[in-house]
Structures are given as structure tokens and as C-alpha cells.
């Protein structure tokens, strides 16, 4: 594993990940209404205009699902365009991706950009 010692090296690493990730970061890209997803693993709840948990750590290859509980539509958009953005998620809709290469992935809601979150992908 590479140890990040400065912001620059971190950025360089993110750039490298970004370059690779579009192919590596496999996308399920599914959006569907929620049935029973109570306390599902690697689930990020969108509530009160926040991503919860704000930082989620997963293993490469695991699925990550966002569920919108607000009455406002939200989106999930990678800051560095490292993965395909979600469609607008209306109330109770969800979006799933599969974590790819290890790294740190920042994302936000493009409708309400104050809403930000981070996915940390580790080696399986």
C-alpha cells in the first residue's frame, strides 16, 4: 500500500485512480424503489440533506447503495468523475454501485452541493 504523506501525492494518486476507475469501478447503476432494505450492509441513507454515514469504508468488489429518504430529489456524483453519476433519486429510490479499485472517492449531490460524502475502498 502507498502511504500518503502530502496533499500533492494524494492528489496524484486520486488522479491515477480516476484514470483507471471508469473501467475498474464497475457500475450496477440500478435505481429502484425500496422494498425492505433495513440496515443493509454498505447502505448510505440520505436524510435531512445529509449522507449518512458521511464516510463509508468498504472492500473492493462490495456493493454500495444510497437510499433517499427525503422529499427532495438528490443525486450521487463523483467529484473527480470517478464513477458514473446517479440519476435523480426521488423519495425512497436507491442507487447502487460496486466498489472498484482501492482509494478514496469524494462525491456530492449536484442538486444540493452542500451535501458531500466519501467512500474509502480498501483491498478485499
Amino acid at each position: 500500500m502507498i502511504t500518503l504523506t502530502s496533499e500533492n501525492s494524494r492528489r496524484a494518486l486520486l488522479c491515477a485512480i480516476s484514470f483507471l476507475s471508469l473501467s475498474v469501478f464497475a457500475l450496477a447503476g440500478e435505481m429502484k424503489d425500496v422494498d425492505s432494505v433495513a440496515a443493509k450492509k454498505n447502505t448510505i441513507e440520505i436524510k435531512d440533506f445529509n449522507f449518512n454515514p458521511k464516510t463509508l469504508t468498504v472492500k473492493s468488489g462490495e456493493k454500495i447503495t444510497w437510499i433517499n429518504h427525503d422529499e427532495e430529489p438528490h443525486t450521487v456524483v463523483s467529484v473527480e468523475k470517478q464513477f458514473k453519476k446517479s440519476p435523480p433519486l426521488d423519495t425512497d429510490q436507491q442507487f447502487t454501485i460496486t466498489a472498484g479499485a482501492p482509494g478514496t472517492y469524494s462525491y456530492f449531490c449536484s442538486v444540493h452541493p452542500k451535501m458531500t460524502g466519501t467512500i474509502v475502498v480498501e483491498q478485499p
Binding site: E72, P73, P88, F108, P113, K114, T116
Partner: protein
């Protein structure tokens, strides 16, 4: 109900009670009149109900905002109906406004059928000229292509859709601050639009009244909820030399007003549902009021600005 401000501790013309009453507004529009370069506003309800003729003015136009066609949740299960009520109010005015300005969020989810419903309802409006700027709900595709094709074609919008026009000596500027938003940020105009704005007003005389309209407030209403525009100060810097600048925004579904030098900032209510006053709820989403109350809350309050007065007046007028 009182038409007066009973507690005005900060000299800003608004008290807590008046502020909270702002929260309940929905389903109306404001009539703006320009007289001598200064704008004043009245609710349509006041005008239509009283059958009061319009004051002699150089120009009158109307701002309508945040229709959210397609929204059907508890806060208002029939936003098309309340939008139509707003149109009925416009049609009931003794003198129709010259044109309408829609300050964004026509739709809830940028769906073609939502825009269709809006357009169909709008056909009943006597006033046919409408100028638009998009809200974030109108551009959920990320580019606003559909919105632009429908609502900005006739004005030949530059860049992502901004434009200006003149009416009766007033210079109107429609700005777009809902596209290409940055993570962690607020509404944004962007460098290209700012450069255009600087050039657009460069040759205008300082006595030219300026009206700027955009969806997200161009002042820091409540940045914690994203209610502001990151580079609005730069935009307003280009307008400092003008004697009368009026900034009309939507987005926050309640009337708030601020006067800063020669600039009056004003946010309009929605025709769909109210939103909480800044910081008074867990989130800025739709605020539920009892269904039977929603219509009775329409057009209850207006904000008026009078030349020579530094404070704003919040006026309650209950339909009963």
C-alpha cells in the same frame, strides 16, 4: 390581524411573528411595479380582491416561482391546482401585467410531462409574455438541455442560458446559478457569466433601473442550507454604480427582503408548497401544513418597499 410590525429590534423591518408568518405562504405571485425607477410590490390577492386599479406606473410585471409541477407529496398533493389558482389571480387583475418572470423550478424532476403540464396550464393566463430562469429542479439532467429548448429559445440565452432585455427603460438581466455546481458549494454563476454581465451593463447609464432575476438567492440567506450564491458579490460589484437595482429570486419558497445601499434583494414565495424559515427545521425540504389550511394560506402576506424608507414592511392580509 395586524398590518404592523410590533417588534423590530434590529431595525430591519421584520419581527419574529412576521418572519414566521412568511413560512406559511404558498400559491400566489407578486406584482411588481416600476415607478420612477423604484420597485414596490403587492400580493395579487390584495389587488384582485379589492378590485383596486393599478397605480400609474411606467411598467408592471409579475414574478412567479417554484411551481414544482410533478410534486405530489403531503405538503401539497396538487401543485398544478395551486399553480392554476395563481394564474386565476393574475387573470382577475383589473390591469394585466405586461409580462411574467418565472424564477425557476417549474418542474419537480425535469420530466417532459411535467413541463407539458405547466405549459398547458399556462395557456389559460391572459398575460402571454413570460421570461424564465431555471431552478435546479429544472436541470436535473445536468445540462438543462430540455429546459433551454423549451424556455430560453426566444431570448437567445448566452452560455448556459443567461440573457438580458430592456422594457420601458428598465434593464432586465436573467442569470443562471443552478448549473455546474461544485461539491461543498452554493449556487454559482461562473466566470463566463460574470464576464458577460460586466460587459452587458458597461455602457448603461447609472440612472437605468436594473432588475436581476435568478433562481437561488444572490445573497447569503442561509448558506448552511445552500441558500446563497458563491460568486454573487462579484456580480453585484458590477451593479454598484447604478441608482436602483432590484434582485428577484425564488428557491426558498418564502418572502425575505433585504436592502443594501441601492440594492433591494427579494425572494418570492412558491405556488407549490412552503419551506421552513432558515434554520428552523431539520432540513429545508417541503414544509407540511394541514391540507385544509394550505389554500387559506395563499397570498396572505406581501412585502412592500417604498422609496426613501430603508426598512421593509411585512404586511399580513388574511383571506379569511
Amino acid at each position: 390581524m395586524s398590518d404592523y410590525i410590533s417588534h423590530d429590534h434590529e431595525g430591519d423591518g421584520i419581527d419574529r411573528r412576521g418572519f414566521l408568518q412568511c413560512m406559511a405562504w404558498a400559491g400566489t405571485g407578486l406584482l411588481w411595479t416600476v415607478s420612477g425607477g423604484v420597485l414596490a410590490s403587492k400580493t395579487l390577492v390584495q389587488i384582485a380582491k379589492a378590485g383596486e386599479p393599478l397605480p400609474a406606473t411606467d411598467l408592471s410585471f409579475l414574478q412567479i416561482s417554484d411551481s414544482h409541477i410533478g410534486f405530489s407529496k403531503e405538503a401539497n398533493k396538487d401543485v398544478t391546482e395551486t399553480f392554476k389558482i395563481a394564474l386565476d389571480r393574475i387573470n382577475a387583475m383589473p390591469t394585466p401585467p405586461s409580462f411574467l418572470i418565472h424564477t425557476g423550478d417549474i418542474s419537480q424532476l425535469s420530466k417532459p410531462e411535467e413541463f407539458d403540464t405547466f405549459d398547458e396550464a399556462l395557456k389559460s393566463c391572459r398575460t402571454k409574455d413570460v421570461f424564465y430562469v431555471p431552478g435546479e429542479h429544472d436541470v436535473l439532467d445536468g445540462s438543462g438541455k430540455l429546459y433551454r429548448e423549451r424556455y430560453l429559445k426566444s431570448v437567445e440565452g448566452k452560455g448556459s442560458g443567461w440573457y438580458s432585455f430592456n422594457k420601458n427603460g428598465v434593464h432586465f438581466i436573467g442569470l443562471v446559478n443552478v448549473l455546474n455546481l461544485q461539491a461543498g458549494g452554493l449556487g454559482q454563476l461562473g466566470d463566463e457569466q460574470l464576464e458577460w454581465l460586466e460587459a452587458d451593463v458597461k455602457d448603461l447609464g447609472t440612472s437605468t433601473p436594473i432588475v436581476v432575476f435568478a433562481h437561488i438567492p444572490l445573497w447569503a440567506v442561509y448558506p448552511q442550507w445552500g441558500w446563497g450564491t458563491s460568486d454573487s458579490e462579484q456580480a453585484l460589484g458590477y451593479l454598484k454604480r447604478f441608482g436602483s437595482v432590484t434582485v428577484l429570486n425564488g428557491h426558498i419558497h418564502q418572502v425575505l427582503q433585504k436592502v443594501e445601499g441601492n440594492v433591494t434583494f427579494h425572494t418570492a414565495m412558491s405556488t407549490a408548497f412552503p419551506q421552513p424559515a432558515p434554520g428552523t427545521a431539520a432540513n429545508p425540504g417541503p414544509m407540511k401544513v394541514p391540507a385544509e389550511k394550505l389554500r387559506s394560506l395563499l397570498g396572505l402576506t406581501s412585502v412592500q418597499y417604498h422609496q426613501g424608507k430603508s426598512s421593509l414592511a411585512v404586511v399580513d392580509s388574511n383571506l379569511g
